[in-house]
């Protein structure tokens, strides 16, 4: 283990804008923090809240969702759908005590390699300042049984438990 904490960020990049922005950043040799591990999706609207929860549960310190600018979506308005979901997800994450900076949504057009690179740099610094999330240790383990199943969805056990509590 190195002295300084290196955050691990999972980045969901849409195929048409932000993944191409990341490609462009590389091609232009724009250097940015190597802490973001990219996953390509066709559209930011494909990013299910469960993906974000899964990543945080499995040890990521932050999640970046990147899409096309509103109005420039390859699928007309998938990014707007992503935004709506993001707002709801953030409300839930707030209740879990997850800091705002850990999950971010950014717009990066295919021509905006610098925008994406700067977003990754900024986010890495913010999360480095926050420290590791260790969500598994703090949330998942203390609860009896897993809150979130292996597939990232609510497990049957949890569902019955919450039902009983009600």
């Amino acid at each position: 283990m190195s002295e300084t904490f290196e955050p691990v960020i999972v980045g969901f990049l849409c195929n048409w804008c932000s993944y191409r922005a990341a490609d462009l950043a590389g091609t232009a040799r724009i250097h940015y923090a190597p802490n973001m591990r990219p996953i390509r999706v066709m559209c930011s609207a494909r990013v299910e809240p469960q993906f974000v929860l899964k990543a945080l549960r499995e040890g990521a310190d932050g999640v970046l969702i990147a899409g096309c600018h509103p109005g420039e979506c390859h699928y007309v308005e998938g990014n707007v759908k992503a935004l709506r979901r993001y707002v709801l997800l953030k409300r839930m994450l707030r209740q879990f005590g997850i800091e705002e900076e850990r999950v971010q949504l950014v717009w990066a057009a295919a021509s905006e390699g610098t925008v994406l690179a700067e977003a990754v740099d900024r986010m890495t610094e913010q999360i480095r300042a926050l420290g590791p999330l260790r969500w598994y240790d703090s949330v998942v383990v203390p609860a009896s049984g897993s809150l979130i199943g292996d597939d990232g969805r609510e497990s049957a056990a949890t569902r019955t438990r919450t039902a009983k509590e009600k």
């Binding site: 290196e6 691990v8 999972v10 048409w16 993944y19 191409r20 990341a22 490609d23 462009l24 950043a25 590389g26 091609t27 040799r29 724009i30 250097h31 940015y32 923090a33 190597p34 802490n35 591990r37 990219p38 996953i39 390509r40 999706v41 066709m42 559209c43 609207a45 494909r46 990013v47 299910e48 469960q50 993906f51 899964k54 990543a55 499995e58 040890g59 990521a60 600018h69 109005g71 420039e72 979506c73 390859h74 699928y75 007309v76 308005e77 998938g78 759908k81 979901r85 021509s111 690179a117 598994y136 240790d137 998942v140 383990v141 597939d151 990232g152 969805r153």
Partner: protein, 668 residues
């Protein structure tokens, strides 16, 4: 653990990857991971030798999955998919890890880059074991094409396709084709008469057996997908029976109602209530303007009907809905000129002798309202001095940041025309830069310079009629900072021409919605690739040509029209095209019929079967965005090649070194 046998190939890409990522270490490590039976690193995986390596392993090692860690999938995914296919492996059982653009090129921290590469390769392995063999989807292409917009772009595209032997439906909103080009007087830099070069093409359109011209019509609805669109067009009532009309023009002559022509003459001239857009209009049939027709407003008159020698006037004619099928659609909807009223300090609409460039085009046009005489708003006085203000509404953060690309050149043309028609008149060009970047454009600029036009480098701050200095009385004064001399200038002139820029059509967003494509911030349609694919869009089967894509001049517009037609002709001649199978599918057993996905789909590709209470994806309409997959509360929708399982496994792989389990193992 799955039974799949995965081969992993880590590319050096010369030193592009190997210079930063310890590729041998990545390959060695991944070779020890579950499911991986072969792991190699190689200088250039995309070379024929690299590809043969994969093919050989697939056959000899009985690989059922392949991962290549190299460059961006946008670069070489196709290459390696083909290699898999050649060796008998379904090409979708392949996954690429982009450790060049997204890793080695983006950092010089070797340790971190290697760690990130391991995560990306591990994620690809975890993902690829869940891949399913997929087949490309065949789509038959209907050989008919719809061209929307009858400007020079649409005319070119329609003629190219018709000449190639394919049928074209050309839909034009106005009563005649021709577009903005028909309004122009001369074209730069050759000073050809615009109408002289355009009207023969318009006539060709009207006479071509392969073109169905639907003028005074608008596309009402678009259904379907590449190769199989159903189009509904509203043919607005002209109140003139086209089959009977000979285009003699007696109706227009006899019509007692005179109206200001806001469209073609830009408000400078008059037309009748029954009129043709301009004398050379194609088709030649007139149209009745119901808002101004005395009969439609007051129930009396019918002069046109009384005098029509063929009985072609039909006051009861109704709009007609026409349905037809096409395989491809070319949008050539053009631009709107910038509304100069928005810049109040230039006084357009308030100061009589401030003209827009489009008005000036009509003024200098021999077929225009003044017969080509350059006169002030009073209709008689010839100006002794003219100021031309460039970049009105362009290159201005308050309006449009972009350059409209044609204004410099037409401003130079105006300067020339003023010199030609009014010898002795002074012409002042207020410019920021003169952008003369086309073939023989710079030479044209030099020619205008030598004709004695004054060029003042500076954006005009104001146009006013408030005289302050002697000699300014009764004049318009253009105030600007001459940035070359660093002085404020006040130039009194008789006439001001505002070189207005080009904007996206006011209804571009609605059109984009109707045809299922995207608009950029300025409202221009987004092309598939700004450099390499300027005439196709992200929506298969929908192409764009001309100024609806961005400001451009006539040669570029024509080139785009022809390019779009060539693209379409290529698809038609292939007959069948193959589409990526990245599509959504609804499991009918899991679907609860909640219909959340119905509204999610931007392409209306999901239909609800009320009888069965479930939704279904029409595969051919689906573009594979996955919005419905993410939204489905019953997890009934699967997005092929981007399934929940595939992405979840990829997340697992990405976090292999920080996973709670991994940490526990380290601790124990």
């Amino acid at each position: 653990m799955s039974e799949e046998r995965v081969g992993v190939y880590v590319c050096h890409c010369g030193s592009n990857i190997a210079g930063t990522v310890a590729v041998d270490e990545v390959a060695r490590w991944i070779g020890s991971q579950p499911n991986v039976v072969v792991a190699r690193d190689y200088k250039f995986m995309c070379s024929s030798l690299g590809q043969e390596l994969i093919e050989q392993d697939i056959k000899e090692q009985k690989l059922s999955r392949v991962v290549v860690a190299a460059c961006s999938p946008h670069m070489h995914e196709k290459t390696f998919r083909s290699a898999c296919q050649r060796a008998g492996l379904n090409p979708f059982l392949f996954e690429m890890a982009n450790i060049r653009e997204l890793d080695s090129w983006a950092t010089d921290d070797k340790e971190a880059a290697t760690q990130k590469a391991k995560a990306m390769v591990k994620a690809a392995v975890e993902r690829v074991v869940h891949h399913q063999p997929l087949e490309l989807i065949p789509v038959n292409i209907n050989p008919n094409t719809l061209v929307v917009g009858g400007g020079v772009a649409g005319i070119t595209a329609a003629l190219e396709l018709a000449e190639a032997g394919y049928h074209v439906y050309l839909v034009e909103r106005e009563s005649s084709i021709g577009g903005h080009m028909a309004q122009l007087d001369k074209t730069f830099p050759t000073l050809d008469c615009s109408a002289c070069i355009l009207t023969p093409k318009m006539v060709d359109v009207a006479q071509h057996p392969n073109i169905t011209l639907l003028s005074y019509s608008e596309v009402e609805a678009v259904d379907g997908y590449l190769g199989n669109f159903t189009i509904t067009v509203r043919k607005k009532a002209r109140h003139v029976i086209e089959e009977k009309c000979t285009g003699c023009g007696i109706c227009t002559e006899k019509c007692p109602k005179r109206v200001i022509d806001e469209v073609f003459e830009a408000g400078l001239g008059y037309r009748k209530a029954i009129y043709r857009l301009f004398p050379q209009a194609v088709p030649k049939y007139p149209v009745i303007d119901m808002q101004n027709c005395i009969y439609f407003q007051r129930g009396k008159c019918k002069a046109c009907q009384i005098f029509c020698p063929t009985g072609a006037i039909d006051f009861d004619q109704q709009d007609e809905l026409i349905k037809f099928e096409v395989g491809n659609i070319i949008l050539a909807t053009g631009y709107d000129p910038f509304d100069a009223r928005r810049i109040s300090q230039y006084g357009y609409g308030r100061l009589a002798n401030v003209f827009t460039s489009l008005e000036f085009e009509r003024l200098v046009n021999a077929a225009g309202p003044t017969g080509g005489k350059i006169v002030l708003r009073d209709g008689v006085t010839q100006p002794q001095s003219v100021a031309i203000i460039h970049c009105v509404g362009s290159r201005d953060r308050n309006y449009n940041e972009y350059c409209s690309r044609v204004c410099c050149m037409y401003s130079l043309k105006f300067a020339h025309l003023v010199h030609e028609r009014l010898p002795g008149a002074e012409v002042y060009n207020f410019y920021i830069d003169v952008r003369a970047s086309g073939k023989r454009y710079e030479e044209f600029y030099h020619r205008i310079l030598s004709e004695g036009t004054h060029f003042i480098r500076g954006r005009a701050a104001e146009v006013t009629d408030a005289a302050r200095l002697p000699g300014e009385e009764g004049k318009l004064i253009v105030q600007a900072e001459d940035t070359l001399t660093g002085r404020q200038r006040r130039v009194p002139v008789d006439m001001v021409i505002l070189s207005i820029g080009l904007e996206a059509r006011h209804d571009a967003k609605e059109v984009a919605q109707k045809f299922g494509l995207g608009c950029d911030f300025n409202g221009f349609f987004i092309e598939r690739h700004p450099k390499l694919d300027p005439v196709t869009t992200m929506t298969e089967g929908i192409l764009i040509a001309g100024a609806c894509q961005g400001p451009m001049d006539i040669p570029e517009t024509v080139a785009q029209g022809a390019a779009a037609a060539a693209r379409v002709a290529g698809l038609i001649s292939r007959g069948t095209v193959w589409m990526e199978p990245v599509r959504a599918h609804i499991n009918p057993d899991l679907c609860s019929g909640c219909r959340i996905c119905n509204t999610m789909c931007p392409y209306n590709a999901i239909v609800f079967h009320a009888d069965k209470g479930i939704s279904e994806v029409i595969t051919a309409l689906c573009q594979g965005c996955g919005a419905c997959v993410a939204a489905c509360p019953s997890a009934a929708i699967t997005g092929a090649h981007f399934t929940d399982q595939q992405i979840m496994s990829q997340i697992d792989g990405m976090l292999w070194d920080v996973k709670p389990q991994a940490k526990a193992e380290v601790a124990s």
